[in-house]
């Protein structure tokens, strides 16, 4: 009898899994395998494709620009993710302390950038950083400074496109942080108060450990998202100056657009997949999440 029940459960499970497995197979697994296959060819749509072995991969790996683009992606992620997390963490505390009406308003307000398309945000910030008529140069002009070439100067370009990225991701990060904060039972803090713990000790021993999974989630999604950033540099700088803002995806896109054969683009996309996977693995390892801490 128990055997029968067991079978029944399996059937239900498989049935419920089927849609997602089918969809994943069609839209992820098959294209992925196909991409791997194509990456070994000089893929042409009109003539027979020529097998070239690992050449596409060696070409990408020996391309200084690809390595540089991965470096740019990492620098960009390091500019964006920590700044965003710290700001969101602080702001989530501010919201937590607000009255419910005000908190509702603030939560809606800070979420607005999230629903703005990255393209539109890029254009807004292009206006802000405009050399002769932008607000940024107007403001520093009030203090008597010379106009800055925010998007054309090697020194400032990457930071200038990191700013809109922080702005765009801030709302969602804050809300997820807030949800994590509200999930921590008040009784822990009350107990800590009775023991005479200060704010810092409460943060160090209660808030941060209990937020670990939230922070892990935000770090992994933040890093992979930032490394894959594409539309901000595409619109704001076109990868310039001197490729200082060419992120890996922009590199791939430029090859896809300009190359006659697409092998290089596919090989670099697969290599980027490896890079992203390794970085996520490192973050998981460092934060040691398999022992999920339970509230």
């Amino acid at each position: 009898m128990s055997k029968k029940n067991y079978r029944f459960d399996n059937a239900t499970a498989y049935m419920m899994l089927t849609p997602i497995v089918v969809l994943l197979t069609i839209f992820v697994v098959i294209p992925f395998i196909y991409a791997v296959r194509v990456s070994f060819y000089d893929w042409s749509f009109y003539q027979d494709s020529v097998f070239v072995g690992m050449r596409n991969f060696t070409n990408v790996l020996t391309d200084d620009l690809f390595l540089k683009s991965v470096g740019v992606g990492l620098k960009f992620a390091i500019l964006v993710v920590p700044a965003q997390m710290v700001l969101a963490f602080l702001f989530a505390h501010v919201i937590k302390g607000m009255g419910s009406k005000l908190a509702g308003f603030v939560k809606t307000a800070i979420y607005i950038p999230t629903i703005i398309s990255g393209i539109i945000a890029s254009i807004i910030f292009v206006f802000i950083f405009d050399y002769s008529a932008g607000i940024a140069n107007y403001v520093i002009g009030l203090f008597g400074a010379e106009p800055q070439a925010w998007l054309a100067e090697v020194r400032t370009a990457l930071a200038s496109i990191a700013l809109p990225a922080v702005w765009l991701g801030f709302g969602l990060t804050t809300l997820i942080m807030l949800a994590g904060l509200l999930d921590i039972p008040e009784s822990y803090y009350e107990a800590a108060d009775l023991e005479g713990a200060g704010s810092f000790a409460k943060m160090r021993f209660i808030t941060l450990p209990l937020m670990r999974n939230v922070i892990l989630f935000l770090l992994v999604t933040g890093f992979t998202g930032a490394l894959q950033q594409f539309e901000l540099p595409l619109i704001m700088t076109n990868g310039g100056p001197l490729n200082e803002t060419t992120t890996p995806n922009l590199y791939i896109f430029n090859h896809f657009r300009n190359d006659v054969l697409v092998g290089n683009s596919i090989a670099s996309a697969l290599l980027l997949f490896v890079v992203l996977g390794s970085i996520s693995a490192v973050i998981f390892k460092v934060l040691n999440s398999e022992k999920a801490v339970d509230g």
């Binding site: 749509f45 003539q47 393209i119 539109i120 254009i123 050399y131 800055q148 539309e231 310039g240 490729n243």
Partner: protein
């Protein structure tokens, strides 16, 4: 300014939302030109439509009609200015009306989406029968079998009507693969006559050497107005500096057989120094006010001299009418003042037939009718573009010389006589090479020494040659 930019951008944004990508210069070469030179407001020119003479239409009809089933063809055209889009629509409708057996389905594809959409369609075997293609892409596409030879599909006479240099743009070793629609030189000097006068310069004597250009730039720079604007990012320099590469060194940075880099010479050193001096002396803005293809800042009065393509004439005539009498047009200055040296490449667009098209004959008939048939159809196009683009066909120019509006246009005359005859064809090698050289120019502008920048370009170009096995593969060599 915000308003105009807003228009251009909102146009871009609409296309982008669906595709999440935008490029300031699209396609492998300068397909961005026409997009950013967009002139949203001018439909007035359309009202003066010439009518196709009944005889002509009838003659064409007779030639191309094939008895039997109705053939439906896909035609993808790059999105250009609204006037050009309207021209495509108008004359395609006209073609469909007069050709019972052929139905052309026109799709206007934004430049940003072009590569993605076309590659997806090619991979699926569903590429359009007819499409627009820029000159630089024709030879590589022909080599890969992506487009069909037209010699047997079109009346050979129509190719004799082309100017000799343009014949070369659309053919590979004597075989024609495309029919050209227009040419437009990539570099022309626009300058403000009133500001010249105010600075004590003769408004009828624009600079002819690079030194003069830099010197005038210095005299014209004042608070709020930059003396000179030209390309200053690698993405823009990649294609806009081709003409000046010919001008300074007499050749491009790779040997004709594509076997190795050819950058170590005084011409290129002078070229890099020119850009470096222009940038470092402060006569150019430190950050581009707009992309090279978009001369809006000049129209807005923020720049005293602007180097841009001939397409900017259309922009000025449509959007900055009050500035027209202050604007002077001249050939781009040359390294030594010799104005018969090339300073520009001739960009432009042609129509091609897809390599897998099942109705190549009908597709070629449409191209013949639209681009190679009645000159009035093309004259209508050049009129709506405000004579900012030029005809590759002798017969169209002859007919246009009879047209009072066209023949009395001094800017058209100047560019047709003093720029186009000396302009060069766009290179057909991979854009990576152009970018490598452009990066050298940009790094010199950003403080790198000219010699080091050129050494890096030499190494990069040799790398590209080796990795892509380019040596000896030039289809035109």
């Amino acid at each position: 300014m915000q308003e105009r930019k807003g228009k251009v951008y909102s146009l871009a944004v609409t296309t982008l939302l669906t595709l999440s990508m935008v490029l300031s210069a699209c396609g492998s070469s300068n397909s961005g030109n026409d997009n950013s030179a967009g002139s949203p407001n001018n439909n007035a020119a359309n009202s003066a439509e010439p009518t196709v003479s009944a005889d002509n239409a009838a003659a064409n009809d007779g030639k191309s009609e094939v008895p039997g089933e109705k053939v439906s063809l896909e035609f993808w055209a790059n999105k250009f200015e609204p006037t050009t889009d309207a021209w495509f629509k108008k004359w395609t409708d006209e073609f469909n009306k007069t050709h019972e057996n052929i139905q052309i389905k026109l799709t206007i594809v934004p430049g940003d989406a072009w590569a993605q959409k076309l590659k997806a369609a090619q991979a699926a075997g569903k590429a359009p029968d007819i499409m627009t293609m820029s000159y630089g892409n024709i030879a590589p596409a022909a080599k890969l079998g992506q487009i069909q030879p037209l010699n047997d599909l079109m009346d050979p006479g129509v190719f004799n009507d082309l100017y000799d240099n343009v014949k070369d743009f659309v053919s590979v070793k004597g075989t024609y693969y495309a029919y050209p629609k227009l040419v437009e030189p990539s570099a022309v000097l626009y300058y403000r006559k009133d500001l010249f006068q105010a600075a004590g310069l003769d408004p009828e004597k624009p600079p002819v050497t690079w030194d003069e250009l830099l010197d005038y730039g210095k005299k014209l720079t004042q608070k709020g107005i930059f003396g000179l604007a030209t390309a200053q990012t690698a993405a823009d320099l990649g294609w806009s500096s081709w003409g000046l590469q010919f001008n300074s060194a007499g050749h491009l940075p790779v040997t004709d057989d594509w076997s190795k880099a050819d950058v170590d010479n005084d011409g290129f050193r002078a070229l890099l120094n020119f850009y470096k001096t222009a940038y470092e002396s402060g006569i150019m803005p430190k950050q581009a006010l707009s992309a090279y293809a978009d001369a809006t800042p000049f129209g807005q009065g923020k720049v005293a001299m602007e180097i841009s393509g001939s397409w900017s004439i259309g922009l000025f005539r449509n959007d900055f009418k009050n500035m027209l009498d202050k604007i002077g047009v001249a050939p781009m200055p040359s390294i030594d003042g010799d104005q018969t040296k090339p300073t520009a490449t001739l960009g432009g667009w042609s129509l091609v037939v897809d390599g897998k098209s099942k109705h190549a004959k009908e597709a070629a008939d449409y191209i013949s009718w639209l681009l190679a048939g009645d000159p009035q159809i093309m004259i209508d196009y050049f009129k709506t573009s405000q004579f900012s683009k030029f005809s590759p066909r002798k017969s169209v120019d002859e007919a246009m010389n009879q047209d009072p509006q066209a023949s009395s246009d001094p800017w058209r005359k100047l560019i047709a006589e003093k720029v186009i005859p000396y302009a060069k064809a766009e290179p057909i090698y991979t854009y990576d090479i152009s970018l490598a050289f452009a990066t050298a120019i940009e790094s010199a502008m950003k403080g790198e020494s000219v010699d080091k920048a050129l050494q890096k370009a030499e190494k990069d170009i040799n790398d590209i040659v080796a990795k892509q096995n380019l040596a000896g593969t030039n289809p035109k060599n």
